[in-house]
């Protein structure tokens, strides 16, 4: 009869049904006359079977916010994009000149921003809209519940997000904290077809003048719901933005 030490390495393979016929025979012969090894094999089979039967009860579902946070690590993991700065060729001089003129005009426009708070906020939101869609859009789309949970867990935003409904053709593709205004703004990124639509949720008390919100080629419409100011912004005709704001406003109610 083989010793327990010789048989011991085989009991796990037998319990897992991975032993050869010869190995099974050796173990069977041994455990017939060895109570401790018989109990060992019985225990291994019992524990294995129990765990497999109870697998569904043992595998917990990850919290909703965790999936969103894990997805968001993609941005942290992405290496910084470094693009070479090409030397200005002779052919590019006319373009550079035109760009300078544009900057001059834009600069004069920005002067107005500093004397008009609503316009300044709208311009900042438009810049955030451009930046965030470049960096943080998730083309696969996100669950409003996941994003809502992540915003609450990570940034303390206690807001109920309007769900993107098929009827409006809106799809949620991102959510983050906008660092403007001391990080008190939640920024939701939506797609309506090819149009990038931002929904900003401003803290209570931020009043915006509707006539001043179309800046930098973007249209924006503000509305108030649940004690907060919501701003819908996109590069789209103002009338279209009004419709979008109505849709968001209705969902937020």
């Amino acid at each position: 009869m083989e010793t327990c030490r010789e048989i011991s390495p085989l009991t796990t393979r037998v319990a897992d049904n991975e032993a050869t016929a010869a190995e099974r025979g050796r173990v069977d012969d041994h455990v017939r006359d060895c109570a401790p090894c018989r109990r060992q094999l019985h225990a291994e089979r019992g524990a294995r079977q129990l765990l497999r039967e109870r697998e569904a009860g043992l595998v917990a579902h990850a919290p909703l916010g965790l999936r969103a946070r894990c997805a968001a690590t993609r941005v942290q993991a992405a290496p910084p994009v470094r693009r070479p700065i090409p030397l200005l060729s002779r052919a590019a001089w006319p373009i550079a000149l035109a760009a300078t003129l544009v900057l001059a005009v834009a600069g004069s426009a920005f002067y107005g921003l500093f004397v008009n708070p609503s316009r300044a906020v709208a311009a900042q939101l438009a810049l955030d809209h451009l930046k965030c869609f470049t960096l943080f859009e998730d083309p696969a789309g996100l669950s409003p519940a996941d994003v809502q949970a992540a915003l609450k867990a990570r940034h303390g935003f206690d807001i109920t997000l309007p769900a993107g409904r098929a009827a409006e053709g809106l799809r949620l593709v991102g959510g983050r904290r906008c660092l403007y205004l001391d990080g008190s703004i939640a920024h939701l990124l939506y797609r309506k077809g090819a149009v990038r639509v931002s929904l900003f949720v401003l803290p209570t008390g931020e009043k915006l003048s509707q006539t001043d919100l179309d800046v930098l080629g973007h249209s924006a419409v503000a509305f108030t719901r649940a004690g907060r100011t919501w701003v819908v912004l996109a590069r789209a005709p103002h009338a279209e933005m009004e419709a979008l704001a109505s849709a968001f406003s209705a969902i937020a109610d």
Partner: protein, 188 residues
Amino acid sequence: MDTALFEQDALALVDRLYAAALRLTRNEADAQDLVQDTYLRAFRSSGQFEPGTNLRGWMFTILHNTFLNQRRDRGRSPIDADSEAVEQAPDDRHASANPEELLLRESLDADLRAALDSLPPTYREAVWLRDVEQFSYDEIAGIVGVPIGTVMSRISRGRRALYDDLVTRSGEYARRAGAGGEIGARRV
């Protein structure tokens, strides 16, 4: 490999990784941190993943290594600290036991989790990877970075310790039931 596809496949494993992280850390907040850190490392290293190979095994390897690093950073490493002693501990499988198959099968999931959590970390991880995740011995050896013989020894001893613990718990239920206890209310 297509980046979007890699990310999609990796994120599909979040429930399984979270469940394993819960067993490793025995704490929900730590488990969430561990899984999030695992994904950060996975996305950073996605270029090293060879398409067509075992993504699940690759993710669990990162989870295991991240767990070890986190514990090391916090000044203790239970797996490293106790593993050698546990491997060399006398095998007590010859101790007397009276398995009660019926009661064992009626153990609650909560008791099963408690019994798992009471196992030494090396045993707990090996048993979990084998019996819940159903990785092969080879895959587990790759994930935890030990020889197959060690893996099989951990599985064997872990299963035995788990079984004995559950038998003990079942015996307590039986005694309580006999004394008019709450076993009926607690059964699944």
